[in-house]
Symmetry: C2
Subunit: 308 residues, 2 copies
């Protein structure tokens, strides 16, 4: 079988991305045909600074102006290249020339200094496709999506509406095709029958309606949050929908920080990403950088491409 | 050195407590002099149903009316005995006849049916001593206390006040004597400089004032919640103060469910407890019941008694 072409958007070259990509290349080329999208001159500069060379079998699509690496520094040029690299990767994948996009981290400040109005990868995807993405974070043992994201905690409850929840649940199901999805409650002890909050009634209704719509029991819950992620319950479920950002991210990062990836669902293309930042403080310092998240991101992208 | 006397309040005998106590006795008698407080007749009945006998070196203080075990059943008599056992344990420890109280789980419904107005152990302690307790949950690797407990999630933010936080932080410090205590933020990304909520300003102020009061840096934070419990950060901190119930309990139970214990701080006596329920569904069925939490509760009680 011909190996899938995967577009790798290298992210900010002043961070740890080039090191990760070079360290992982030998492995991932066995699984797919990676197409690295970045500025070739700067990437060569990275390799040199890391005391290595770009392997002969590493295919680069060159973009943007040449620039020199500023180790671990915010830099508009580096920001611009990482943005252009991502846009190129999206376009190639949209045209089916590559089967998925895998991203390495960008620096938000560098994007900002380069005059890029989007805040990050997901934002860029949403404005490119004019469509809301569902962000899913995790690893093969545990995946979580979040019904609400970057809003104050006190505002979370006001977003809990039957129709909105139902739409989210069904979109998550369409995109993951999982036959068992755990839905979390909002309040401690799932509200204890209304004693500590009653949003669980709405969540229960949304679960019921979503299952009715699918004519099968896919969604389970609302689960008592504090026991939802115990070892025992993780045997029952791999896919979770958390109601708010930290409810899902706290256990995910407590359990699987290093290996976690970020998957953008509900879009015309497949995009996976590492779930860490540019780590400017660690860039170009030593070889002790974990590539677990990146390897998982590549594997996941390939497996989703094969399922499509 | 003479071994400390520890009062063991056996909890509801219709649940898994007798099995745990009998299974662990051989171990804990090496560490302390356990004094089991319960109804002797019913406890003997438990042992018989479990196919064993009460060991000769197991010291019982007999209380309440004799009754027969109803395996895994809500029962006012069993509820009453578990309440009386707890009160007796508190009184003995208050008089310094025992050095600490360790509790096995009670059944809230059985208490209710026995006409007991308190809802549970902590509630009973607070009304006995007329003093607010601080509940701390965890195990030697990770302990957490919660600034707010059983309230709707949407109400948490309104409790965040500088003085109230400061009082809680300082009480926690007095009771744990830890020299590094992590304080969590409320909002995603700790509010990202006010973009997603601004309660972090108040938490920051309370941390600053508390450290000033102690004339040393004890409290650190507010930490970004989603990375507070990563493996890396758990190397920096063992004691955490979460702002709300699930923020602390989700990671604790995800990581250390089986071995977790419950410690009541800020009271005249030491009380530790297992962090699980009566498990009526598992009672008197097989021997596959974990005693990890109980062993940790006993160990912790002994170590706190020695420090006193």
């Amino acid at each position: 079988m011909k190996k899938n072409k995967i577009a790798i958007s290298l992210g900010d070259l002043n961070g740890i991305s080039p090191q990760i990509a070079l360290k992982a290349h030998k492995k991932i080329i066995k699984w797919c045909q990676p197409i690295y999208i970045t500025n070739r001159f700067a990437f060569k500069n990275s390799a040199k600074l890391l005391g290595t060379k770009i392997p002969k079998n590493l295919k680069i699509i060159n973009i943007g102006k040449n620039f020199k690496i500023k180790k671990g520094k915010v830099c508009p040029l580096s920001g611009k290249i990482s943005y252009q690299s991502f846009i190129k990767a999206i376009k190639l994948t949209k045209k089916n020339r590559t089967k998925a996009v895998v991203t390495l981290p960008i620096n938000k400040e560098s994007w900002n200094k380069a005059g890029i109005t989007q805040k990050g990868h997901t934002d860029t995807l949403e404005s490119f496709f004019k469509q809301k993405a569902i962000m899913m974070i995790g690893c093969p043992q545990l995946f979580g999506a979040f019904f609400t994201h970057h809003i104050p905690l006190k505002d979370v409850a006001s977003h809990i509406k039957t129709q909105k929840l139902k739409k989210f649940f069904l979109a998550f199901y369409r995109n993951t095709k999982q036959n068992k999805i755990a839905i979390l409650a909002l309040n401690p002890h799932a509200g204890d029958n209304g004693v500590m909050g009653d949003e669980e009634k709405i969540i229960t209704k949304a679960i019921k309606k979503s299952n009715e719509k699918l004519k099968k029991e896919i969604f389970f819950g609302p689960l008592v949050p504090d026991t939802a992620f115990t070892k025992q319950n993780r045997k029952n479920f791999t896919y979770f929908i958390a109601i708010y950002h930290d409810q899902g991210l706290i256990p995910l990062k407590a359990l699987y920080f290093e290996e976690s990836i970020n998957v953008s669902l509900n879009l015309p293309i497949i995009r996976t990403s590492v779930d860490h930042g540019t780590a400017f403080d660690k860039a170009y310092k030593n070889n002790n950088i974990s590539i677990k998240s990146y390897l998982n991101a590549v594997k996941d992208a390939i497996s989703r491409a094969n399922q499509k």
